[in-house]
Amino acid sequence: MRQNIHFVTKYINNFKIAQNIKLNSEYFILELLCPEKLSEILPGQFVEVLVENSSNTFLRRPISIFDVNYENNSLKLLIKIIGDGTKKLSELSINSKLNLIYPLGNSYSLPNCKDVLLIGGGCGIAPLFYTAKFFKNYNVNFTLLLGFREKSQVILQKEFSELGKIFYTTDDGGFGERGNVLQHSILKNNNFEKIYSCGPEIMMKNIAIWAKNKNIDCEVSLENLMACGLGACLCCVQKTKSGNKCVCTEGPVFNVNDLLW
């Protein structure tokens, strides 16, 4: 896995919208065709999207890469509608253009152990889809655990189930086990050696504490507010044991042992 991102070339390009798939009232997927050969993308990396025609959206929006297809040079973004910017993105029509800076950030590391667990919550499932696919190619034995608020929020069930073993929690138990991801029974009956997580900060913090107690190595992906995405503005910093680090270039993936959580 890459260590120093400054040596990896970044690009800016107008992608063409191949598909805009509405999953439910909140989530949608954009499939974007790259006008040239797509550069190598690592699991956990993200893009900076330029939102046009939204007067309230001044800065680009950092969005995780959900899936990559090198055969047709496309990538997919799973996006949750939060404000005007993401609303505008949800309204993009097929064949329209979307300007991206990519690929950005470091990546989840390839595990050197047998049993790994990928835990996603809400929109945090986005980078875990490509991560799981990537791990599958490297014959990593992984289990997916996804948490949602309620049954109606559960998305991409079929797509995720095709990747491997998968378990769910919902707050009310309407789908999968009841409670939050840390309350799921597979955590009691398994000996996972590494955890990869993305989701709400409070969820990742609790996972980090749990993993540290159990002596399990754990990587999380952060989504601090960001401007440039290139390590120039120093707005997205996260406090770590070795000082402030840019989430955009030195993250978004951090080993929880480096964080002050």
Binding site: L50, A227, C228, G229, C233, C236, V237, K239, N244
Partner: protein, 298 residues
């Protein structure tokens, strides 16, 4: 566009990248040929390592953003040892933005930068709104502005650009004082002090409560201040504040600036500096402008 003599600083075009928005240049080298730029100004550099302010230190606003980074940098010695060797061979003007909390700090940093052969000038930052001590305090008072420029002028022998704060009653008086104390040019404006509150949580959106507003939201005010200052002083003015396009840059040149800086726009379009250079070039061809001083309001 012919070369510009910016009071001794030879610029191949009037476009510089603004401090704090362009890292050390290297961060943008996938998007911009740094040699094409008139110059770039590296991020605010202090005598010692600074961690900056707590997160959150940025929030988006209508046509702009508020930041409160607070001069995070690893200090001048780290710059000299680790960054300078990587950037010194670029064929463009690399200026160091010199920041500090006390006059002695500014002087020490300026002395060290004076020894760097590939750095033809400094931008003295007496206008950072995001540090508790020093920073903007120096640039909002004639006496302290005079004192810091005088002290740095004694030790710094190359081009001394002073970056002015717009958070003053009359920016022209500060500009005149700075000119009198020996500055070779002034750059303006730094960010306007601003504030944003989250109505849900009823808390300020920045950890420092207030921050500096940049982006196109401030452009008309910046153009106005550039126009006022360029009529008040003889030294050249480097104009900045919300420049997002070549036309924005040309507005500043028409208002009296001899060069411009592109800041926040780098975050949205990392290639914007090159695009602005091309745009100004085209404008000059169409309007038969051959020298920077031919940019004049009609």
């Amino acid at each position: 566009m012919v070369e510009i003599d910016f009071n001794g600083l030879k610029l191949k075009n009037p476009v510089l990248a603004a401090s704090g928005t362009f890292g050390y240049g290297i961060e943008y080298s996938d998007f911009v040929n740094l040699n094409d730029l008139g110059g770039f100004i590296v991020k605010g550099t202090t005598i010692d390592n600074r961690e900056g302010n707590d997160y959150p230190r940025m929030t988006e606003t209508a046509s702009g953003m508020l930041n409160a980074v607070g001069l995070q940098n690893k200090g001048i010695d780290y710059f000299i040892e680790n960054i300078y060797p990587k950037i010194k061979d670029y064929k463009t003007n690399i200026l160091v933005n010199v920041s500090g909390s006390q006059i002695e700090d500014y002087v020490k940093v300026a002395e060290k930068v004076n020894e760097l052969k590939a750095i033809p000038g400094i931008e003295l930052n007496i206008s950072c709104p995001n540090v508790k001590e020093g920073g903007m305090a120096f640039g909002t008072n004639c006496e302290s502005a005079a004192n810091v420029v005088k002290a740095v002028r004694k030790v710094y022998k190359k081009h001394l650009m002073v970056k002015l704060s717009p958070n003053v009653t009359d920016i022209t008086t500060i500009a005149k004082v700075v000119e009198y104390e020996g500055a070779n040019s002034v750059s303006l404006v730094n960010t306007f002090m601003g504030m944003a509150i989250d109505v849900k949580t009823r808390k300020p959106k920045l950890s420092t409560i207030t921050g500096g507003l940049s982006g196109p939201a401030i452009k008309p005010i910046a153009v106005c201040l550039v126009w006022k200052v360029s009529n008040a002083v003889k030294i050249p003015v480097c104009g900045l504040g919300g420049i997002m396009s070549a036309n924005d840059a040309i507005e500043f040149l028409l208002a009296g600036a001899s060069a411009i800086q592109v800041g926040t726009a780098n975050f949205i379009n990392p290639k914007i500096t090159t695009e602005i250079i091309e745009g100004i070039d085209n404008y000059c061809k169409i309007n038969s402008i051959q020298k920077i001083n031919e940019f004049r309001m009609l």
